[in-house]
Amino acid sequence: MFAEDALELRREQSAERNTLSVNFGGMCLRNPTILASGFLGISMDLFRRLYKLNAGAIVSKSISCSPIEGYRNPTIVSLDYSSYLNAVGLANPGADAFSEEIRENDNLPIMVSLVGSSEKEFPILVKKFDRLNIIGYEINLSCPHVAKMGIEVGDDPELVYRIVKATRLHTTKPIFVKVGVGNTDVLSVASVAKDAGADGITAINTLRAMAIDIDTGIPVLANKIGGLSGKPIKPLAIRCVYEITKKVGIPVMACGGIFDWEDAVEAMLAGASAVQLGSVLATEGLSSFHAICTGIQAYLKRKNAKNVMEIIGLAHKY
């Protein structure tokens, strides 16, 4: 390759990077495709692989103060239409092991997802991670299948306020709060989180759901009830993103059923600053980040947009 070609190529690549780069809630990402929490989120080696494959950022598995073994298998059940029911029970290596895992991170844009059952645990967690090279936190207030953690917390706006506030006091890094559709109004949880100092919202988590095997009559998940993810929940995620960005006015990462560039664009038109990819990885594999970036880029070109941020929230005008 001639020197000029190499230069040209580099120019093109950096143009691409500029087209897709996003800037929201105190974070600056090379592109808006982010690994959702709970997917491959425990191994630094895997994070490196995902980053090479174009992930704009990575959210870790939700980490608790102590390690959690999680529920007995089956913990993950495939349903039709690229959807999954899971009750892993927040299995995670715990804050000590995970901070060890990512200790040597230098340049990967990692967000650590935090989970706990009271406002006391979050400052403890933040202390383990705040001096590491991470770009922010996601607080998981919406795991639908572990009592006293996740959704039962997210359903109590006062507790949400205290948790976010307590976390805010111990870090200057961006804090995103992950909300779910369940028993409380997502809008009120989002605005409480905003008031407490959150920089953004992730919407949505899985929804409490169930599947029973009709041959044996037995609920398939060992935990019986789990969380539904994948294609079916996209219209709910789009609605939450739209309502939160429009009515609460806070940056939102869309999560839930984002499977292709069309979904990603729909979420961003609804108001999302970025999209998280989860279940799609089971169906389409790790190349999804790249495929979605390429698709968004072509869309932007057709629409004569210079940067993807131009399309964020366009649907609000209607």
Partner: protein
């Protein structure tokens, strides 16, 4: 319609074979499983008890497959205690398979216990392509040796040799599989070595074979939840055993610093093999 292999399929146990006092084979009808590649596995749901990854065992009837389980903890014992007529759920088969290099003329298979399951499926392929095959079966003691006759039958159409080693010498050659292997590769040329079994053994095989420049393919085991590449519970280095594996080649294995040394437990913490 195309069946989605990820959806649970309920199968009825139709035959049970006692392999040893602690190992049983359960046969059932399931077309997708019967077409599994050597090295692929099923996620087997034992209703109300567990879901476990299990290599797909061969079965002589068309459209049938089987699983061979060693009774160990709660999950495997629940499976072991199932009777004819009872139901299991299966999904998969998942993962990649052993590959037979184009010019292979003579290969070695080394396995022990239920690690023989993928090797028998491989043996059938080797048999039909008439590749010289040496199979080393390792066990602690005579009563734990199984699949020997079946292995011979699987290889009947090709040049073959089935060697059994027992650690206590109660049957076959005394010692470990790796000792028998070392002797054989000292005198004959093998194009590839395939292995499945305890990771310490496989690691030793990789080291010995690499010293002799023989490529290895090993089928690995890790704790598994999803089987479909999303939960990372099966990860080793930057690889997912359920999706990138279960079979890895010498080059990949050498790059995986955890191989033979470390695994992750249910919570995802790294632990050392004893």
């Amino acid at each position: 319609m195309h069946t989605n292999i990820n959806r649970l399929r309920i199968v009825k146990i139709e035959k049970i074979v006692e392999e040893t006092p602690t190992v049983r084979t359960f046969a059932f009808k399931d077309v997708a499983s019967s077409n599994a590649g050597a090295g692929q596995f099923l996620m087997v749901w034992i209703p109300q008890a567990e879901e476990l990854p299990m290599s797909v065992m061969i079965w002589h009837e068309k459209f049938y497959a089987a699983v061979t389980v060693r009774k160990k903890g709660y999950g495997s014992t629940s499976l072991y205690n199932k009777r004819v007529g009872e139901s299991l759920g299966v999904r998969g088969p998942y993962g990649n398979s052993f590959e037979i290099p184009k010019n292979a003329r003579k290969v070695m298979l080394v396995g022990g216990g239920t690690g023989l399951v993928p090797l028998l499926r491989l043996a059938i392929h080797l048999n039909s392509t008439r590749i010289d095959t040496t199979l080393i079966i390792g066990a602690k003691t005579h009563s734990e040796v199984f699949f020997e006759k079946l292995a011979v039958k699987c290889l009947e159409d090709t040049n073959h040799q089935v060697v059994v080693t027992t650690e206590d010498g109660s049957y076959g050659i005394k010692g470990q599989t790796t000792e028998a292997m070392l002797k054989l590769i000292g005198t004959e040329r093998f194009d590839t070595i395939y292995t499945c079994g305890p990771e310490g053994m496989m690691k030793k095989i990789l080291d010995l074979a690499s010293a002799s420049l023989i490529p290895v393919q090993a089928s690995l085991e890790r704790y598994m939840k999803c089987g479909i590449g999303i939960c990372a519970s099966c990860c080793i280095g930057d690889k997912l055993v359920c999706k990138d594996g279960t079979v890895f080649d010498s080059e990949t294995l050498s790059s995986l610093s955890e191989f033979g040394l470390e695994y992750r437990d249910k919570s995802g913490r790294k632990c050392k093999y004893l």
